[in-house]
Amino acid sequence: MNLNLIIIITTAVALVAYLVSKVNDKAGAAMTVVGSLFALIAVFLLRDSIGTEITLLYFNFNLTVTGWYFALVMLMAYSMTAFFNPFWMKKLIYPAGYNFLYLLSMAGTLGVFFAKDFITLFVFWETVVWSSAFIIQMGKSRQAAYVYYVISAIGSMATLFAIMFAYGTTGTFVINDAFGGLAAYPGRAIVIFVTFIAAGMAKIGIFPFHVWLPFAHGSAPHTFSPVLSGGLVKMGAFVALLSVTAFPAYKIFGGMASFRGIPLPIYFMMALGAISIVVGTLMAIKQEDAKKLLAYSSVANGGYILIGLLMLDQVGFAGGLMHIVNHAVASAAAFLSIAAVAYRTGTTKMSEMGGMIHRMPITYVVYLIAIISMAGIPPMGGFVSKWLIFQGLADKGLLFIAATAFFGSIGSFLYVFRPLSAVFLGQTFTRDLNKKEVGVFMLFPMVVLTLLSLLTGIFPNIFLRVVTEIQTSLGVLPVTLAENTIVTNNGFLDAFKVFIVFGFGFAIAFVLFIARRKSRRVELMDTYTSAEFIHTRELLHYSHSFYAPFERLYEKAPDTMKLYHKAAVKISEIGNFAEAIFFGIKPARTVLLVMGTVLIGIIAGGVLS
C-alpha cells in the first residue's frame, strides 16, 4: 500500500459513500467509518516507507516522519468522529454531500502533510478548506461557514503570495529548496515568512484570525466540530512548523535583532500566540454555549502549540509537537461528549442542562478526563506537553510568554469545569429524567480517546520517541528520554510516578465516597435563600452568569470581529462609490467619462514621457 493508493481509495470511497447515501444515508455514513479507519491503518503502516517519494498527477509527495505523525493525529480525529456520523444523518440537509465531503477533506489533509512541493501543499490545503466550509454550512449557522471561509481565504491567499514569491526568487516549488534558497535574500525572506505563516495562523486560530473558531466550532454539525478542533486546526500547526523548519527562520533571521535568542520576526509570532492564549482563555470564560467555550479553548491551546513549535529547541518544540496529539485527543473527546449529550437533549446551551451524570455516566467520565488533559493537570497527556513547553520557556527566559502561558493554564481551570458542573453535575432537568446513555457505537470512540488521553499522560515516552525522531530528522537536538522519564535542564518528569501518586489519592477519595453515608437527594427548587423562595430555575443553575464579576473586568475589551466588519463596510463603500460614478444610466455622463478618460490619458502620457 502506498500513499497514492490511500488517497485514491479514500477519494473513491468518498464517491461511493455519496452514491450509497442517496439510497440509505446510514449505510453511507457507515462508509465514512470504514474509509477513515482504513486510512488510519494504512497510513500507520506507511511507517516503513518513510523517506520515500511518490508522484500522483502533478502532485509530489515526500513521506516524512513529521507528515506521518501529523497525518495519524488527523486520521485519529476523523476516524473516531466518524462513529458518530450514522446517528446524525437525519439532522443534515445533505447527508450524501456530508459523507462525501467528510472523506474528501480527510483525503485532502493527507496531501497537505506529505506534500513535497508547494503546489501540492496548496492544492490539498484549499481542497480541505472548501470542502469543510460546505460541511459547516449544514450546521446551525450560515454565517459560520462564511466567516470560516473568508478568514481561511485571507490566510491562504497570503500563503499563495509567499509561495509564488519564493518561487519567483528561487525558481522552484520544492518546499525545502525554495525556502532553503532564501538565505541570500533576507529582505524578501521576511515578507515570505510573515505571509507564509499566515495560513497556518488562520487555521490554528491565532489572534487576530481566531474569530472563526467560535463560529465554526460552535455551529458546525456536532459530528464535525471534533474534526475541526481535534484535526483540521492542526493543519495550521503543520504550516507553522514548516515556517521554522523548511523555512530556516532561525538561520535567516539569525543576524537580526533578537530577544533572548529568538529573532524578532519569530518572537512577534510567538507573542501573537501568547495573545491568543489570553484572548482564548478570557473569551472561553464568558461563553454560555459548551461548544463555543471549547472553541475558545482551542484558540488558547493553539497558542501553546504555536509557541512550542516556534521555539524549535530541544524541550519546548517537543512540547509543542506532543501538545498537538494531546489537544487533538482531548478536544475531540470533549466535543464528542458534548455531541453525545446534545444527541440526547438536543441542545448545547449549558443553562438548559444539568445532572447528566446520572443519565450518562460514561460520557461524563469521558468529558472529565478530556478537560483534565486540556487544563494540563496530571496524570493526563496535556500535563506532560504543557510541562515541556513551560520548561522550554523557562530555559530561554521568555518571561512575558511564560506568564501568559501560566495565565492560560490557570484560566483554563476556570472555564473547562463550567460545562462539567453545568451539564453533568447539579440537578437533572425533569425533561431529561428519562434520557439514557448513548449506544455502544458512539461510546466506543469516546472511550478510545479517553484511554489515549491516559496513555499519553502515563507513558508519554511512547509518543515522545516519535517526537525525538521528528526532531532528529529536522536537525534539532532531540529531547532526552530515559526509561520512563523525560529529562530537561531543570529537572525530570516521571509521568508514571505522577500517575501512581494521583491514583493513590483517587483511591482514597473513592474509598471515602463509598464508605460515607449516602447523601439525601433533594429537588432543585427545594431551597430558599435570603428567606425567599426562588421560582426561577436558571438562577439556581451553575452556569448562569457564573463569572459575572470577573467578566465585568474586561467586558469593554475590543471585539476583533468588528475589525473585519469594518473592512467589509469599507469594501462595500468603495463598491458603492464605483457604482455611483461609473454605472449611471445617463448617456451624457458616460460620454463625458469616456472623453475624460482620453483627456486624462493624454495628460498622464504627456507627464510620464
Binding site: 481542497t127 450560515r142 503570495f161 525558481g171 458616460t590
Partner: protein, 480 residues
Amino acid sequence: MMFNPVLLIAIPLGLAFIAVIFKKIQKWILALGIIVNAVLVFFVEKGETAIGGFKIPFGISLVLDDFSAAGVILINILALAAIVIAFKKAEKFAPVILAGLAGMNGMILTGDLFNLFVFMEITAISAYILSSEGRKPAQSFNYLVIGSVGSVFYLLGLILLYNQTGTLNMVLMTEKTGFLEQTVLLLPVLLIFVGIAVEAKLLPMAGWVRGVLGNSNSYTGVMFASVYSSAALFVFGRIFSQVLVPGTTVGIVIITIALVTFAAGQASAFRSKSLRQVLLYSSIAQSGLAAALFATGFVFPAVLVVVNNAIGKLIMFSAAGSLEEKYGTDDYIGLGGAFNKNTLTGIAFTIAALSLTGLPLLFGFYAKLNVLAAYLNQGTFFVPAVVLLGTIVEGAYFIKILIKLWAPGKEGEWADADQSVGDKRIFSYTGTIAVILAAVLVVLSGLLPDTAGKLIAPEGGLLGDDGPAISLLIQKGGDQ
C-alpha cells in the same frame, strides 16, 4: 479535410439573411448555423488567407494563428452551449444571433484594422438588439450611445494611424508604428483603446453593463457575459499584445485603468445583493484582469483568464437568468435553498464559482497560478498582491451566494430543506446536461492543466509570449 476560415463568417452571415426571409423556420436555421459553425471551427485551415483575390497586404486577410484559433473555438462552442441552454429565448432572434456570430468570428480572424471596425459594428448592432430583450429601453439606449461613441473613437484613432503609416493591415501596422515616436502614437492608441474598451468592459467605458446584464435573461446573459465579452477581449489582446504594443507611457495608463477596473469590479460585486449584478461586476473585474495581462504582454495567462471566465459565466449567468425567470427575483437572499432540488445544476454552479475564485483542482487555479507566476517572474509584486486581495473579496461574495443557495435555514438552527424557496427546476434536461458538461470540462482541465494548456497554445506561446509561465507537470524529483 480543411476548410477556408472565411466560411466561419460567411455561413452564419448567409444563414442570417435566409432566416430573415424564411421567418417560419428561422429557429431551425439558427440551430443549423450554430451547430455547423461549432463543428467547422475545428476544421479550418491555419495561416493567413487572402480574401477577394487581392494580394496581401492590399486586400483583406484573415489570420488564423493559435491565438485566433483559441478565440473562435471558444466563441463558437459557447454560442452553441448558450442556445442549448435556452433555445426558447434565442429562437426569435435567429438572424441577429447569426449575424452577431459572423461578426465575432470576423473580429477575431481579421488581419485588417478597418475590417475589424466593420465586424465590431456588426457585432455591436446585434448586441444592441439583444439588449432590447431586457425591456429597459433607457438601458439599451445608453448602451447604444456609449457603443457608438466608442466606435467613433476607434475610427478616429484608426484614421490618425492610417495618416501616419498609410496601411490598415495589422502586420504592416506593427512594422510601421515601430518607427514612430511614442508621443505621436499616444493619442491614436488611446482612442483605439477607448473604442475597444467599451465592448471589453473596462471602466469607465463599461457603464452600460449594469443596465444590460442586470436585466438579462438566461440567454442574453450568457451572450453578453461570455460570448461578446470574450470576443472583445480577444480583439483587445490582438491589438494591444501584437499590433499596437503600448510603450511604457501608454502601457502605464492602460494597465492602471485595467487594474482599477479589476478592483472596482470586485468591490462592487461584494456589495451587490442581486445575483446577476454580482456576476456582471465580477465579469467586469475579470475583464480588467485580462486586459492588464494583455497590455503587459502576458497573452497566455490572459487567454486562460478569458476562457475560465467565459465558461464560468456561461454556467452562472444562465442559472441566474433562469432563477429570475422562475422565481421573479434574483436577489440571492430571497433564493435560499434554490439548489436543494437542483443538485446537478448546483454542483455545476459551485464548480464555476470556485473556478472563478481560482480554487485548486479546477481550471481557474491554473489560470491564477499563471497570472501570478508571469508577474513574479518579471519581478512585479504589486499586481499579484492586488490580484490576491481581489481574490479574497471574490471568494467572499461567491461563498456567500453558494451558502445561501445551498443551505437555507435560520441562524441558530440546522440547515433545513423545508426553508427552501421552492423546488422549481432551474434548467431543462438539455440545459442541465450542458452546464454539467461545462463543469466537467472545468474539472478535467483542472486535473490535467498542462494538457489543457497545450490545447490552448500548442506551440507553447501565443502572439509571441512565453506561453505557460508555470508548468504543473513537475518532474519526479520536483524540478521543472
